[in-house]
Assembly symmetry: C2
Homo-oligomer: 335 residues x 2
């Protein structure tokens, strides 16, 4: 069975020192191990002086990645930036430079990927024109889509400029992958990685809800290909609550012309939910033609081994598994 | 089939003017209609000068409530305060006064309720001693349990004083109902009632996650009866993500001795999820012996008609429905 993983991240081994170039704090960088022994393939992803996450060579080395894809039976993989690279809060010139640097680095990894690795671009989403130009440049250079963070500061996905960017992507047939970042309520979720287990899924749900209720899907072309990460966060489970509010309370309707359930055929979700019952709920709500296998590889919170959840599902039939593991992605990204 | 609704709210028709008594802003009050015609049973719940929510006589009139319970086939109902009454951010003396005022008012409604209405107390949770004293006073006066907000400012449910209060409740066999309030990320959820559809379920999930990972269930007596509102927010659907993080990342484990799934038999959830598939997932994750029917009546985002979701479930058998609709609540609240 063909397997395409649409949600994985990369981080190039070396690149220009952006803190030195632009000044400012918290630019991400890699602190590679200085030991010769067994740590040559490990590094610490840093944000300024702060340790952000331990990573290993799969992040930057296509050969390691291909070996592990072989191990887990993954044929092709879409790689995208680590969200702390988005730089939406920085001056647009810096964010654009950063995006171009990493977009070009991503393509270098893909070249080493023997036609099994494909990249999503990043863009300086705080600026509509720069984002449209960069995503078009990236597509021309070989990127198969674009990854965006799910908000720009206080602006959710009902923001006019974000919707204009999505329409540009639709017009140019560029698929969009939405990843949570810059998580809400950080002062309340600082412990136990709750930023990832509470903040991220709430962010993603907020994105889908704001896009629906903000009238985004009413306004955007039906040709837009858009997919939300981590199974859409908590969206699918909370759809009933959202629908009930829409029906019974005028101010909960926002600008949407239809109730939220009307728009489920307008977007995709990845399968990274780590639980068969949750996956079943996704299939019930979205249909197996609206889900795509995503692992979040090679980060510690990713699926290990990749593809295991869908592959071992006791309730999905072979056709549904094939749709989720590859067919939908092949269509979505034209692979 | 007997039906007990464990999640409903009240608001007494008249009470002391707390803004005048204590000063300070945003004290809640009811602006009753001044028209004689058809609006005598309607009111606007105000927070200071701001319109918070339109409500109607079921909030304060036991007779209206009993009529509507008869209409929907609800035998007994637990009433609890509207969370904007909690006053956890105010001086403890004011919050205690407010709690006592409303706890006594709740019992007056229950007296009119012909042994079909029962009340949960509220406490000034910002102060451990005052909370323990008030909850014990309330129990002695006839309250069948206590409702608490899911956080006190920046303090989640792994807070030492909150856990001490829960232990006090356990020691005195006082059931606890946890309701989300004071929602996170209000600057991002101001539109379309997203505070209720995004913020609230994230709050409740945060409560359960912080209680588990903060070692709360390891430390507290197994006799504690605790139930979280709105089906536990997004907790059940996101359990797989939480469990995966716990397994693969040391800093995601917090202080809990076991993985999160170990603690599912330590708490209850209400059934207010407004969707059969979501309810099915709750039953799969928690078991039908850990769910209790809750309507969120009589607010606009409550279930209409009450009990419809469980009653019409195509997948639950009669025994499971009976457990959820009444048996578990009868045990939990000793009714």
């Amino acid at each position: 069975m063909r397997v395409i993983d649409i949600h994985s991240h990369f981080f190039p081994k070396n690149w220009e020192n952006l803190a030195k170039k632009f000044g400012g704090e918290d630019w991400p960088w890699l602190r590679h191990s200085t030991q010769k022994c067994n740590d040559y393939n490990k590094a610490m992803l840093m944000q300024g002086c702060r340790e952000f996450r331990p990573i290993y060579a799969a992040c930057w080395d296509a050969n390691v990645r291909l070996e592990e894809m072989d191990r887990d039976g993954v044929d092709q993989q879409i790689i995208s930036a680590t969200p702390i690279l988005f730089a939406y809060e920085r001056p647009v010139k810096q964010a654009l430079y950063c995006a171009q640097l990493f977009n070009d680095a991503a393509l270098e990894i893909c070249v080493q990927g023997q036609e099994r690795l494909f990249a999503l671009a990043q863009v300086p989403l705080q600026d509509l024109d720069a984002s449209c130009q960069e995503v078009s440049r990236a597509k021309a250079n070989g990127h198969v889509g674009v990854q965006i963070g799910n908000h720009v500061g206080l602006k959710n996905m009902d923001d006019e400029a974000v919707l204009d960017f999505l329409q540009h992507c639709s017009d140019q047939d560029i698929p969009v992958f939405v990843h949570p970042w810059d998580m809400m309520a950080q002062e309340r979720t600082a412990n136990y990685m709750m930023g990832w287990t509470v903040g991220m899924p709430a962010e993603t749900q907020l994105s889908i809800v704001s896009m629906i209720l903000g009238g985004g899907f009413d306004r955007l072309s039906k040709n837009l290909k858009i997919c939300f990460a981590h199974g859409g966060g908590s969206f699918a489970f909370l759809l009933g609550r959202l629908e009930n509010a829409w029906i019974h309370r005028d101010i909960a309707r926002g600008k949407s012309q239809h109730p939220p359930s009307h728009y489920l055929d307008r977007f995709y979700l990845d399968s990274a939910v780590f639980d068969h019952d949750a996956l079943d709920l996704l299939v019930k709500k979205m249909g197996s033609d609206r889900l795509m296998f995503g692992s979040d590889y090679p980060f510690p919170l990713g699926e290990q081994p990749m593809g295991h959840l869908v592959d071992t599902s006791p309730s999905l039939d072979r056709h549904s598994k094939q749709q989720i593991l590859a067919e939908n992605a092949a269509h979505f990204f034209t692979l």
